[in-house]
Subunit: 253 residues, 2 copies
């Protein structure tokens, strides 16, 4: 993968993923979206609703990656502590954000914009808003940290607003070929030699198990479509020498 | 959550999750399995197939948590580097494991146990095997690190073998109540007071959005069923004071 691309880290904040209550649906969505804007996701951490853990993790990863995205913990309840932890991580006050406050107050009937809901309009000083077209309460960006909702539908709506504001690099593209009745153990040596000839690509080998038969997908990822296509052409030739029938692309889901 | 429970960290190793190619299916399975044996999952990291990253992460988290579980990167291809990285992290030789070697050699036709496949029988010195009832090539444990396959079906079969060998604590149990037409913002204050009365429980608030209506689930997790039930009874009363109809348990999927 090109070193010229800015890097991304995702923090999934919430006990519900760590307890197995909730199947995460945000990692894959953001991984794909970040690839499209040329800002490859290099690490994900799922962490609990524990202030010291959130603060320490945010400070570690915002120094290590070009951009950090968080999902979860920005609602009105006691377990929603992401926003105040981000303020603590940056060492800035956590205070009413006038624009967020105005938007939220306008969205409730008189008297219903209570203390719990006001917490959702309380943000680290210096935060800029990420619009929430679904349920009003905004996300925000501070420094290189982008704070989004955990509910997938709301997170996705925030991503639509956020993505155009980010400066990515060359989009990450992928090319693939797959074949039934080829095992990884037979293709491994040839594949390793091809990977060595294309060091700027990530060449991945993924076995699949289907009612219609088992096989292997080989996926080349990188920023240069020409070399990805050349590498996949070499993999295709390798498969032909093994006597199987390569099919371009990945198998249908 | 009780401090008496041993803690777990999961490392999901593989570019395919970070690129968004693959929807992770291992986090939730292991989160639930670890909860059942009373070894709560406290952190997950998804990291790429990069040796320095794997080695540094393994060494960081094996010092920080009681047990570390890894999935992915133990196949025969060039991108399968977990096993040799674990050896490097522990500072031990990476060498043929006689029992793994014997099992694998016996599973192939003569001449087919090639160099790539022999890598799957090569392990950190001192590793003990985790049986693989699906596809022979074993996982392994070294120190407090448990190395499993990434393919969910194989990982799950390894977990069945591994779990009975682990010394957990009190199982993590959960109780829940939910209601339609209650918003988090209305229930937040009362919920916060209940959480304060049950500091050993994790009380989580999770909005849901269904065609049949929107609502909120409140989930109490901990090792003591009696206090989880008492907390949920208080939440139920709280919901009743808000004029909604609480339903015990979580909403049907």
């Amino acid at each position: 993968m090109s070193d010229a691309n800015p890097t991304a880290c995702l923090l999934v904040i919430g006990n519900e993923v760590l307890s197995g209550r909730t199947q995460d649906a945000n990692i894959r969505f953001l991984a794909q979206g970040l690839g499209e804007i040329g800002m490859p996701l290099r690490e994900v951490r799922v962490i609990p609703d524990v202030p010291e853990t959130i603060i320490a993790t945010v400070n570690e990863v915002r120094a290590k990656f070009d951009h950090v995205f968080t999902t979860g913990g920005i609602g009105p309840t006691h377990d929603d502590i992401t926003s105040e932890c981000i303020a603590a991580a940056f060492g800035v006050p956590w205070e009413a954000h006038p624009e967020a406050w105005a938007r939220m107050e306008a969205s409730y009937k008189p008297g219903e914009f209570n203390a719990a809901r006001q917490r959702m309009a309380t943000m680290p000083r210096g935060a800029t808003l990420i619009n929430n077209a679904i349920s009003v309460a905004p996300g925000f960006t501070i420094g290189n940290v982008h704070v989004m909702a955990g509910v997938p539908r709301i997170m996705q709506a925030m991503w639509v607003e956020l993505a155009p504001t980010l400066k990515g690099g060359q989009p990450i593209i992928s090319r693939a070929v797959h074949a039934l009745r080829v095992s990884e153990g037979l293709i491994a040596d040839g594949l390793s030699a091809i990977q060595a000839r294309y060091p700027a690509l990530d060449l991945g080998s993924y076995p699949y198990y289907r009612p219609t038969g088992n096989g292997v997908s080989i996926v080349a990822k990188g920023t240069d479509a020409t070399s990805a296509e050349a590498a996949i052409a070499e993999v295709t030739d390798l498969m032909l020498t093994l006597g199987v029938d390569p099919v371009q692309g990945e198998p249908a889901a």
